[in-house]
Amino acid sequence: MVETPVSGGDLTSIPALLHRNATQFGNAPAYREKEFGIWQSWTWAETREEIEALALGLIDLGVAEGDFIAVIGRNRPTLYWSMMAAQMCGAVPVPLYQDASAEEMAYTLGHCGARFVIAGDQEQVDKVIEVQRELPDFEQMIYLDPRGLRKYDHSKLHQYSHVQDAGRAKRDELSPEMARRIAKLGYDSTCVMLYTSGTTGKPKGVVLSNRNVIETSKSSSAFDDLRQSDDILAYLPMAWVGDFIFSVGQALWTGFCTNCPESAETMHVDLREIGPTYYFAPPRVFENQLTNVMIRMEDAGKFKQRMFHHFMAHARKVGPAILDGKSVSFMDRLKYRLGEFMVYGPLKNTLGFSRVRVGYTAGEAIGPEIFDFYRSLGINLKQLYGQTEATVFITAQPDGEVRSDTVGVKCPGVELKIAENGEVFYRSPGVFVEYYKNAESTADTKDSEGWVATGDAGFIEEDTGHLRIIDRAKDVGKMASGAMFAPKYVENKLKFFPNILEAVVFGNGRDECTAFINIDLTAVGNWAERNNIGYASYQELAQHPQVLATIKGHVEEVNASVAQDEMLSSCQVHRFVVLHKQLDADDGELTRTQKVRRRIIEEKYSDIIAALYDGSDQVSTTTEVTYEDGRKGAISATLLIQTAQTSAAVHKMAAE
């Protein structure tokens, strides 16, 4: 590969960027974490000292160049530092999903042969200890929170602060070794290895080089004009590529401050307190927030309700136009200003979005109503399309060209092409090096010229250059009649209803489509409470006749809308069931990033699917569930099968 010259000296590794930040913005906050009710903060200079101390301690423990160091836990500055300290030792950090089960962890730890593990707390330590016999390469573990670990055998276990202390004590002795290792790092060294969530099969270890991470951070920071003074909230899983790019890549490139919440439950309060300027969330989070706002408005007084609805109607009319800098009449602007004072401002403050300058959503399609709601408030929410193999960015929406049905134009440095079967391919400086120990999959995904298959089917709009994604390429199929079958297209439309949390549509190779539906307990539960409908369990609420009738109404609305699309009008849902349990990652039904695993669901619920197609009115079923601690139980239920109205397909006049 040709070495690309880099502006501003020799910034070709994470430690080099850290050094620049500590010198250039030494006193600016780099990391904050809320602990004991107070935001604790560390400047870039302090951060460098902390990381160096840990790196020296790791070398002292015997970390060698090229070792893999697994990092497991919730978002905490110390764990981000652990990843950077690993890089300083010439080792490769491997962040893992903290909610993964012990077996899942055994696979990833065994696959990369991690010699060292840095774990957040007792829960993570226990999981690793449980599977350590299957891990011949595993040697030492470091933990952050000593709680509950005092009585553990400490022959392989070290407290984080003690490792740092040891490093500080041997600073003079070990510094030259560390400097030697840092000096060897360059654009082609491995920056991080991230395991993909694995919608199909075992997770794959995606190796990203410093070039991938730094080039991507550089161009994406320029694309959105990210600044040193920006603030982000780090709350998404550390094992996810997006978090690595935002909280490490872009944070180091631009020098902005990464804020870590106190715990997962306090995320919303912490979000409000920090008021990030750059914010990322999957559509699910935005949906939940909107659902909560709407529920709380239902409980508000009459006057507030009227004021809210009046100004929100106005915001929907002119808000997005004002945000895009289009011309809006003076009176409308004036009224929008008043609305900002009365409704939008306080609402944004409650949501923690008062300062957001750049907001992104990605991962799934977002409902147009949800998207427009936030934009109409004046929040610059945009969509991007990316994946781990691309170091996140493939396409993104530039300011002023934001729409809910596209994922934007190609990012700087990215090339796109669409294959004959509709699959999207890209090539960019962010394209991953390889799948670790899996040359076969690497070759399947990335061709010799560097083009990578996304696995998604889509097309580029000719007039705007925006990319639109239809579905996963492998999920797009044909119905018995030969018509195109794109389940996600229909599922997304269903999920746009606040009452529906998750939907799975079947129909590949069949005469008609059917669906599984999960109700949203927050929305439906609140509705039940307001209407004095008692229920003892999720299962009971899900099968309540009125709930079924409501869901049926939603399905029929979706059918009417699907019928409008000439390509996909056969995908209307004829029959459906409301499931007795939530689809859950612990049961293997969703990935850890909350994506539906179709094959597994099809196998597990084959009895229900059979009933959907054989015309029966109801089906009795027993489902195995896994509790958080790994124990198993079973739920039995009798589900009523619903039949929904379908609409006649709309044909183009000319075609007849």
């Binding site: 509950g148 715990s263 309060v269 601690d629």
Partner: protein, 272 residues
Amino acid sequence: MLDQSEGYTTADGRKIGAVVMEMKNITLRFGGVEAIKDISFDIREGEIRAIIGPNGAGKSSMLNVISGFYIPQEGQVFYKGAPRPPMKPFEVARQGIARTFQNIALFEGMSVLDNVMTGRLTHMKTGMFSQALWKGRAEAEETANREVAEKIIDFLEIQAIRKTPVARLPYGLKKRVELARALAAEPSLLLLDEPMAGMNVEEKEDMSRFILDVNDEFGTTIALIEHDMGVVMDLSDRVVVMDYGKKIGDGTPDEVRGNQAVIDAYLGVAHD
């Protein structure tokens, strides 16, 4: 006369120290009803001591004797080697004894944080006026106490409800807040009155973990009353079994489990 022997080591390797509290031939009557009949047992430093028994066995009465709320008609309570005189509740608190209640006794209108802060009251020395004026020592004192309260909030993982009024919390969380308030007093002896009553399995597991962690982290001696036999056997180092006001067993969970009198009390006796 007090047993000052060296203590013992538990199966999981914890060192249990000398006797901190000893009950000697306690008898407690309410009018003609004998709630407790001639019971003796001790609580050692650092141990988790459970009192179990069927309904109406006199467990709560026993806990109230330990806490000094009931004065037994006969017998003597020794605390840290000395006979204990009748005391007011605040005097008990100053001695380093804190408790939780079976029917939750929190200040419902106050936030979780304020409730936990009330547990610090025995540690506050400044007067009402300087606290109201928020000057000098009062401010420093509040900061120091708030720090302790925050550490306990962190320990019991209730950060997310720090500012929530207690009235709005579900039952399981209220129980945890009550434990937080008791811990805020930094007690040397913690009394828990049915800490897991009315909880589901998951809440029980959480609470058990917290009780073990409290004992482990702070070295707090814990005496608890509990209904759920499984929980008691897993948690405690030694168990006192009561039935109809009498002690029918005392020992490690295994010993108690094999005790015929205990089995009879719990499962009933077959009549020939």
